[in-house]
Subunit: 450 residues, 2 copies
């Protein structure tokens, strides 16, 4: 196996430890300025010119080194992390990088500080292999990814000239549950909405059931109306804008390994929605848009019984969308659906800035370089994933900046991102960082040193 | 207005203060033995023989004085009270009877200590008016009414010979929102069930929405399937056992004052279920059985968003039933309904002992005595309510002991039973206690003293 030179392996640990020590928890609004400054220093050491760009939220750390007449690679990452709660489930201090059994533990060790440090070390390695790089480099590192990147699309739009580039790496990537390298080519869009309903000024005794509407029942009925038992969305027009998969996309979906049996056992389900498995499981997971109920709450939920008629109810939903669904149009269709069924008393609120779906051609030359680099680094072909089930601010990079984006990196399914004991495996750091190096060498036509 | 003699008014306050000072909170399992003992002393002072009967739960205070060859009146009451929480909303100590503006405040001041003391004072007054009473008296005072009287039906069945009587007073009663005296003739039955559902071993990221069932959606769909928007229950066979109202019942329902406009304004609703008003409102409230959702809970309900796919969900339901619906059969029909619709993964648990519905003929001579007494005491005709929307252990008294039961008393809609600042109005104590006295005098053929 190809490994980082020892001094770069040390550098990886040292820089990641510095980053992890700063609790840049976006949701708690702390540590962000400190983290932006420390990150700026690390990027300046790579020979990049660093600027901190204000937004309506946390600042973006922008860094660049252009090479006249040469193409440019852009790195999108984020320096914010999820809260460390619940603290008592951590086996070591979440803000003190700790090595155990070949893994480095800490909040952000994978998402996204571990991935970001891998990109920085890859560029150091490239400079050691080739001297000053013959291509341009841009970093865009935001501080609000964990709260849904509410300002990223506007930032990209406003800074489109400064961000001009030719190819890009995304903030995440890694191996699947069988240690096969993956190349992800798309993200779903997302729109989160809150539903709420009030049927009376206050909760009543349930003896009023024959004459007063029950908010819990009524919101349950509204929520039930949105999809069928198989997960098919029942909102008129929901699927109208779905772009049919290309032949290429279809081919990669069909070629994706069907790990559904193992996943079913892991999560304790006997049957997936619609009874799907194999290719159809992959097709759904990668290409189907959904409506999902994050939660529904109304009335009494404590021990024993309380014969109350609830006067109010709330539910939270997220839509996961695929090209070319427009999140704002989907929310408008939700409004129309509720109105059509007489649920005009259900109040719909968009919970945050939505994200648009986006995909990249899996056979774009940049992605082919990445796939070939992965095969070199891991000794086996990459699994190409047409679209992740998750979301992120990919759309402005693909649609505004017109960038092919490669999603490869140092994560693995056991990274516990967003959870206690988040970690990165050193074996993934070695292979994933090498894959980044080889992708850039192939793209830039740089022969690896003897 | 007829009032209690001053020494009996004082006696009412004194005895109620003694009772209220004992926190006999059934749900907290405290004060019950102390209360049973104090109550026993008060009943012994009436010349009754007192026994404390054990049950599987709190003891029943039984007291009797039989008169050979003469009929017997039975009083059903309860000595337990609701918890006083939330304490900070009380304007005076819930366990220190406090008089303000003609009202006596304290936990149980109405439900049921204030009602119970009214019966005791009525018997004292009768003895002062007529000497030793020429009819038998039995008290059955339980300590678990506020937790659904789980042992009352079995107690009545076991003690049916000791409880033999001819007529009975129920534990509550009073005036309506226009200070009209009411005579309630029935209670609905009740069955409380918990529904629960699990679709995976743990909550998942909502990116799994295309392939994994969502517990929140699925339980919402199950709950939604149980009734329509108008409140009509959609469980096959639910209405089969409903006994059509008699002509007498129908007449009283039609004669009941339609106070639905004022109630709608009070609770802040523009429209009742089915758009009903007037007679149809009364018919529904008194005669319709229902399914009611006490609460539904699943997944995330905090601030902002969390894109989770919930793996479990719970709901609590109560059925309010009318003669001759059998609560156990209704729960069996619920099982069948869920199975028929494919919701065989929804687990149904009966939350506590159900109560059967029961009604008394509004024109039974005993109730006619009560109605006439109310008209004397209040100076206006009683409003006859064929059935309350609420429930209680009426069924064993009506069906096992074959008793006509009159529901009259000293409550009013502002009594705040089960809530902070529970109270009884002295004006109701005077009139309600007098109505009890006059009902018994009419029934026993005792002429009121000059």
């Amino acid at each position: 196996m190809i490994t980082l030179p020892p001094h770069l392996e040390d550098a990886y640990r040292t820089l990641l430890a510095r980053f992890v020590a700063i609790p840049s928890v976006g949701a708690e609004g702390r540590g962000q300025d400190d983290m932006a400054e420390t990150l700026g220093e690390a990027l300046a050491e790579l020979g990049l010119t660093v600027e901190v760009h204000g937004t309506d939220g946390a600042p973006v750390v922008f860094a660049e080194r252009r090479v006249a007449g040469a193409p440019t690679v852009l790195f999108y990452n984020h320096y914010d992390v999820q809260p460390a709660d619940p603290l008592e489930l951590w086996e070591s201090d979440p803000f003190l990088l700790t090595e155990r059994d070949g893994m480095l533990y800490g909040r952000g060790a994978s998402d996204d500080k571990g991935q970001l440090v891998s990109r920085i070390i890859a560029l150091r390695w490239l400079r050691e292999r080739h001297g000053e790089l013959p291509f341009g480099v841009v970093f865009v590192v935001e501080g609000e990814e964990e709260i849904g990147s509410p300002n990223m699309a506007a930032y990209v739009e406003a800074q489109r000239d400064r961000l001009a580039a030719d190819v890009a790496f995304w903030e995440f990537g890694g191996v699947d549950g069988h240690d096969r390298p993956t190349l992800v080519c798309g993200l779903k869009g997302i729109a989160c909405v809150d539903l709420s309903l009030r049927t009376a000024d206050f909760d009543l005794h349930s003896a009023n059931g024959p004459v007063v509407q029950n908010a819990a029942w009524r919101l349950a009925a509204a929520v039930a109306s949105l999809r069928d038992d198989d997960g098919r969305v029942l909102i008129d027009g929901f699927y109208d804008a779905v772009r049919p998969p290309t032949d290429t996309e279809r081919r990669y979906v069909e070629a994706a390994p069907a790990d559904d049996d193992a996943f079913a056992e892991h999560i304790g389900v006997e049957r997936f929605l619609g009874g799907v498995s194999g290719v159809e499981y992959q097709r759904r997971a990668q290409l189907e848009p959904t409506i999902n109920v994050n939660g529904i709450h109304s009335g009494y939920g404590g021990p024993g019984m309380k014969t109350v008629l609830p006067a109010s109810a709330t539910a939270k939903l997220d839509f996961r969308l695929v090209p070319d669904q427009n999140p704002l149009e989907i929310v408008a269709l939700l409004h129309q659906h509720l109105e059509r069924l007489g649920f005009d008393d259900v109040v719909v609120n968009l919970a945050e800035e939505p994200e648009w779906p986006a995909r990249v051609d899996p056979e774009h030359p940049w992605l082919s370089h990445a796939a070939a680099a992965l095969e070199e680094a891991y000794g086996q072909p990459a699994v190409v994933i047409v679209s992740s089930g998750g979301s992120g601010p990919l759309h402005p990079f693909v649609e505004i900046l017109d960038l092919p984006v490669a999603m490869i990196g140092v994560g693995y399914p056991g990274s516990r991102v967003h959870s206690p004991n988040e970690n990165v495996r050193m074996v993934d750091v070695h292979r994933g960082t090498y894959a980044t190096v080889r992708t850039l060498e192939r793209w830039a036509g740089l022969a690896p040193p003897e």
